[in-house]
């Protein structure tokens, strides 16, 4: 269970949100909503351990954000694709997954196939469209063994089939006992999702 207690976040001289407390249990899908600049991205970055909160605590069971067990438990998908333009899809995916947990080559190729990038293994990422790049990163998401998914605008740049695919993955992940916290400006049709409004 992920426990967030009394969280405050400040950006520059402005207070984004304060005294935010909530809990996420296994199987929960949490849709974080709010206007632009309300702190959705900052909240996800704090949960990922990238930003430091002004106040408050975050615990996964007994693990704090800085512990290795916590870091192993999360997968964070930010605005940026986390791919280097000069390298091929396969090389990029291999590096991305190794940062979490090493995965064998056939599984990598299989994951690329699943996200609709068959035959793109050796294509340099600079030549991919924004949607295709997103799909490479999503392949990393499928392969990760992380329990908590933190997805910041996962649907941007994807076509309707792509959006449906991601929604399916999220549902599947949470049915298997995972947790997912995500933001989006598109209306999402996920079943059983809870909403956290900032």
């Amino acid at each position: 269970m992920l426990k967030i207690n009394n969280l405050s976040c400040q950006k520059g001289y402005n207070l984004l949100f304060s005294h935010l407390s909530f809990e996420v249990s296994s199987g929960d899908i949490l849709h974080i909503t709010g206007t632009n600049g309300s702190g959705k991205t900052s909240l996800l970055k704090i949960l990922a351990g990238l930003n430091v909160q002004e106040q408050g605590t975050i615990f996964l069971k007994d693990y704090s954000v800085k512990s290795e067990d916590y870091q192993r438990a999360i997968f964070y998908l930010g605005h940026l694709p986390a791919l280097s333009a000069e390298l091929s899809c396969l090389e990029n995916l291999r590096f991305l997954t190794t940062l979490n947990q090493s995965v064998k080559q056939p599984l990598l190729i299989d994951a690329l196939k699943q996200v609709g990038l068959e035959d793109y293994e050796d294509e340099v990422c600079a030549k991919l469209s924004a949607g295709q790049k997103r799909r490479v990163t999503l392949a990393g998401l499928i392969l990760s063994k992380a329990k908590i998914w933190l997805l910041d605008e996962p649907f941007t740049a994807l076509d309707p089939q792509g959006v449906e695919m991601v929604e399916q993955y999220i549902t599947q992940h949470c049915e298997q006992g995972g947790m997912c916290l995500f933001t989006t400006h598109q209306s999402s049709a996920l079943k059983n999702q809870q909403v956290l409004a900032l």
């Binding site: 400040q10 950006k11 520059g12 001289y13 402005n14 207070l15």
Partner: protein, 246 residues
Amino acid sequence: MWKWIQAFASPQNFYQSSEKIIPWLMVPFILLSLAGLYWGLVVSPADYQQGDSVRIMFVHVPAAWMSLFVYVVMAVAGGIGLIWQIKLAFVVAKVSAPIGAAFTFLALITGSIWGKPMWGTWWAWDARLTSELILLFLYLAYMSLNNAFDNPKTANKASAILAIVGLVNIPIIYYSVEWWNSLHQGSSVSVSKVSMQIDMFIALMLISFAFKFLYGALVLMRSRDEVLVREQNSRWVRMLITGSEK
């Protein structure tokens, strides 16, 4: 003790109490510098070798001491800010930089003025002057890094790291410059080599304490301004400016 520090270090408390401290620093500064000037210009004798031009030492040497002292304060304050998350420490570090740079600049200028009668040139690659010059570069680097960030929190922490890295480097830089100087120059008259007499020593001490008080007063004054900018969105600052709750 710890609670007391935290209470004083809260921006609002600092803003209110620092106002009362400033006169207690300004008055000793004025008295000490008047006494120091009297001792340095009237009481203390001219040097047998350097004549009256030795008197510039009474500004040069304290300024050079201060240039190092302020850098140490800046780095230590930055470190305190990083470790204990005390906002006020970052403020002190930031406002100290231009003051330290000014002392460094003063040391360089006075060294150069001293050099004209002694060496016949405005500048010589003397060990102390060269080190001062590099120290000035370190201050300028710190200030431009601090100004380069949009996010004040990042600016605080990043420049604190630079100051600490600089502090670790300063002894190495001073030593290497000293060593480099000894390779290339024989024993010429150096800024630091003055046969010291008791009257000169007293004048030197008076001015150097005066500078310490001046630094303290300037840091407090500049910190008050900086605190207002940083806390611009808090209620107490708005009340202070508008005089009401809104």
